[in-house]
Symmetry: C2
Subunit: 329 residues, 2 copies
């Protein structure tokens, strides 16, 4: 499996490092508008080719899979072009800016018999699978509370008047898209779509959400997901059932240190050996790809689409508008 990367942020290095830990896939090319930006990573990971034109990379017959890690708003365009050039696609979270963009990507992937995959850590982590296997012990679930807060390295620049991509509506940024997305995946991969979703956000003058609370209402329980890029906190997921609760220390992205509390009995679960969270999602994709398991691929896409629908609804209800919204009017 020969991969080319799009984007040069820290996530690309994490991805390349994850690839290194898996036998089989390899990175054969990088795309970056400026060669100098990609050069250090290319050297470090022995990647032979850097393309400064996206079209040239897509024309390379050696490239089978494109890993898209450009700014959020460009995921759709980059993935679409790759699919149209008959490349399989791994696309970073959040998948697209709108549900309709994702629908179109899925239709192109299906038409061209290609794989398309959302790179989201949470749902592919071994500890998340352990939570799934053990959650029945809690009895009826009543409450799920999540907090994923990470003071953005770009927040100070934002406060001083600049507009980094992650805080720019034009780039589909914000706390819901960038960070709360992990909490949403945590809840929705376990329980499916909620019957109602409300997003209450702290919005900057430019409209972007620097933090917010997403309340997902299910028929028999409530989940509330806090995601902040403007403050630090203790991160966690708490799942409360009538017979006990599960505490996930450090939160949905990572699912490290899972503890189950049942009456007076506490137990700890851990099946994760690799500290690189991207290792597990990348391995999942590689196994699916090797097995040509299109059924699993389309199942995951249908699930990703349900997540995008909730995110788009919640975001627009809070009045956070992206250029992609108006293109669809």
């Amino acid at each position: 499996m020969k991969i080319a990367t799009v984007g040069t942020g820290p996530i690309v290095e994490a991805f390349l490092s994850a690839l290194d830990d898996i036998d089989g896939p390899m990175c054969v090319a990088m795309y970056s508008r400026k060669e100098t930006t990609a050069k250090p990573l290319a050297d470090q990971y022995n990647i032979p080719t850097i393309y400064t034109h996206f079209d040239h990379m897509l024309a390379d017959p050696n490239v089978e899979v494109v890993y898209v890690a450009s700014p959020n708003s460009l995921h759709y365009q980059h993935a679409l072009q790759a699919l149209e050039h008959r490349k399989h696609v791994i696309c970073e979270k959040p998948f697209t800016s709108t549900a309709r963009e994702l629908e179109h990507l899925i239709s192109v992937a299906r038409k061209n018999e290609l794989m398309l995959f959302e790179a989201i850590t949470t749902i592919h982590l071994p500890n998340y699978q352990l939570i799934k296997e053990n959650i029945h012990k809690l009895g009826s679930i009543k409450m799920i509370q999540c907090n994923y807060s990470q003071y953005s390295s770009r927040y100070d620049r934002f406060l001083s008047g600049e507009t980094p991509n992650v805080f720019n509506p034009a780039f589909s940024g914000g706390a819901l898209m960038d960070i709360n997305v992990y909490n949403i995946h945590f809840v929705m991969n376990l329980f499916g779509p909620p019957e109602a979703a409300h997003y209450i956000a702290n919005q900057h003058a430019n409209g972007i959400d620097t933090s917010g609370v997403l309340v997902l209402k299910y028929p028999h329980f409530i989940s509330e997901c806090v995601g902040c890029k403007d403050t630090q906190s203790m991160n966690f997921v708490l799942i409360q059932g009538e017979k006990g609760y599960i505490h996930v220390e450090n939160g949905a992205n990572g699912c490290r240190n899972v503890k189950i509390y049942l009456d007076d009995q506490t137990s700890e679960l851990n099946a994760q050996t690799n500290d690189n969270l991207l290792y597990y999602e990348t391995r999942t994709f590689y196994e699916m790809y090797q097995a040509k398991n299109f059924e699993k691929c389309y199942e995951l896409l249908s699930y990703s689409h349900s997540v995008m629908r909730v995110m788009e609804h919640a975001r627009r209800e809070a009045g956070i508008e992206f250029p992609a919204d108006s293109r669809e009017r």
Copy 2:
């Protein structure tokens, strides 16, 4: 200061034990419909008189202050009668069933020049005062997240078909009134009334909320308060500011183990020496009473009224109706 108690639940014992720790006030009488119910506590705390008629207790000139700890729905009636008999009143949380009931109590207290006091632990705790003094260190507050969950000792009976008072709308029960009230006090005593409040509840067939999420929206931050009587959890308050956060272990009722996290520096605050949380609120009342500080009394009442307004709005928005609501139509 000579006190008579109304009610015989565990909270009354905590109150009597708190009185024992303060020089000055004493309990001179207990009211209970059945003498046998009050007898064990009366014996334990050397209380000379048990009244089985409320009127008889109110007619006792020896009684100066009435402590009301009857079921929620009866707070109003018991407090009103006591005020009308020119007794000062300490009333357990939640103060009344509706804001209008409290308005009436306040008007009678003012007219009769009497003290009226909401017995709520949180806001009178020394650690809560320390939080107030240190919160400016966090910079702009963005997010407050609370969880107070306590699996009710009466929940199993409720699930098996009985209707204990705490799960009975006729007795103004439920998670918002009984347990989330601590979170609401925690937030509102620091920040005043929110600009919007939404309550999303898990409601039983009889309409009562066994748990729920209250979202309080302030102009520049969001607070979400989880209160559950149907599940257990880790209890906490997390206050997130741009410069750091405060973690209150074990939650709003207690404010034990307060930690401030500022960049890499962590510090712990503790000024509480008495494990009986009711000690502090009772001492506050006693000092106010001794000093005849009516100004403070009415200030606190005005604040309590703002809490009742938020609770009533949130509860009614969620469709939780009490008999007190229809009496006011």
